[in-house]
Assembly symmetry: C2
Homo-oligomer: 251 residues x 2
DNA sequence: CCAAAAGTGTTATGTCTACACCCATGA
DNA sequence: TCATGGGTGTAGACATAACACTTTTGG
């Protein structure tokens, strides 16, 4: 899954010449793997939290926007390139020493599937791990306040799926409505009625656009499905409501 | 409106003994004044942006949470105390010099009405100004990236009113449903049908609770209205939808 | 009595949910 | 022909918007 990378080592420090900015950026990168939602984690090889898992993180450089910083940190520490990174919030790290990590700003990104991950110098492992495992404190010990950041990222993703078309970012360029539905089911943690889902998606102009092509039928048969691509709409009006979180089947 | 304060001058710098944290906090404080929405601004008496208006802002101190920092900065620079401050987002200041304001974290608060505002040392004026004027670049020149922060704050307030009971924070402890409706109209920038609004608010359990008391009738007469107080519900289910922003009457 | 504002009723229209049912494919 | 999954139909429950109407006050 993760391969040792050969490129030059990132410093993971502030840019030489610039003053220490004390601003860290964290990346919450979600990806679908089959019907399962996974998140990108790295295992730290250096203090603090050596040996713990963590979200990809690093320091912003002087003169760099936060978006550029998180994209660079993500690429340098895992080799992963994310298209759109959306700000999740700012976190005052409880373990902050005065200059380093005075504050960290978390960003959220969606990928269609798990991609090859580099293990950068300073880390001992890096991979996409199932959400359920990543959020379980008994099984995964996350560095800094990354447990809270990850929880917030999941909650943000859940409401994003209700109100925007961002779910298509968790699908490949061409996808069936079933694939899109499994995204909703994986993120929300409960099943979604297929006929009604189909109608609501197609009734929202610009959510998905038919490609005219068909997907191959599954190995067990079944009617071949129409292939769609993401449309230009961003806001879903009306929204796609998830189940009230009374009976939780999710994480 | 604004009174000169006599208390000790805040330093508006990082705490003595702590290292420079480079983390600024900004406060977006909304208040209702009659049927109008206003925002708290201060006129800067010091560089940078001397003479410009700005949101109350200052630096976080070492060891201080962001919430504590913004509450302290708000109180020190205007004398205003806000109950609940909600994080709006992190902004990389385009005009940042390496150590100061490397990043600023904005917070949002609601007050029932304009309160007395102190003019702290380092500022030449401070008051609640109408949203329309504050957002109009030709009439109000805001320091830093505060124009964008203010726009984001208004947009956040608009969606908060749709999905949560936060609108009650813009009302006094006891209020009529008409008062609550004017809050929605002021923030959304369009009128709301009174009968339907009433029904939806009362149908949402825990949104408002009747006090049993009645408000006095207005100067021009009219049936006296029931007084309500805020309930314990936070999320509105179903939401109170604002008008689609096709015909904008607002800001 | 009139104007003003609170509050109730009503109706047409739309939306959501749950589930029955049909269609096309692989084995 | 059967299991599997794609796709359509539909009926009841529920929510919404628009507006007519009644009630209670001050002038």
């Amino acid at each position: 899954m993760a391969s040792r990378r050969n490129t030059a080592a990132p410093t993971d420090k502030s840019a030489p010449g610039g003053a220490a900015t004390a601003v860290a950026v964290d990346a919450v990168v979600f990806a679908m793997d089959g019907a399962e939602l996974k998140v990108l984690l790295v295992q730290r090889g250096l203090a603090p939290f050596k040996g713990s898992w963590a979200l990809p993180t690093g320091n912003a450089r002087a003169g760099e926007t936060l978006e550029a910083a998180v994209a660079r940190v993500l690429a340098e520490s895992t080799g992963v390139r994310a298209g759109f990174l959306e700000q999740l919030g700012a976190y005052r790290d409880p373990s902050h020493d005065a200059l380093e990590r005075a504050v960290s700003v978390a960003y959220l990104a969606f990928l269609p599937g798990p991609v090859d991950v580099d293990v950068a110098p300073g880390t001992t492992d890096a991979s996409f791990v199932p959400m359920r495992r990543a959020l379980d404190r008994r099984r995964t010990d996350l560095a800094f306040d990354h447990h809270q950041v990850l929880r917030d990222g999941l909650e943000r993703a859940r409401t994003e799926l209700e109100h925007t078309s961002r779910a298509t970012a968790l699908c490949p360029p061409a996808f069936t409505l079933s694939r899109l539905r499994t995204v909703y089911e994986a993120v929300w943690g409960h099943s979604v009625d297929a006929p009604n889902f189909r109608r609501k998606v197609l009734a929202t102009p610009g959510f998905v656009v038919p490609t005219g092509r068909m997907a191959a039928a599954g190995p067990e048969g079944g009617k071949p499905a129409q292939l769609y691509r993401a449309g230009k709409a961003v806001v879903l009006q009306p929204p796609l409501y998830r189940q009230q979180s009374g009976g939780r089947r999710g994480f």
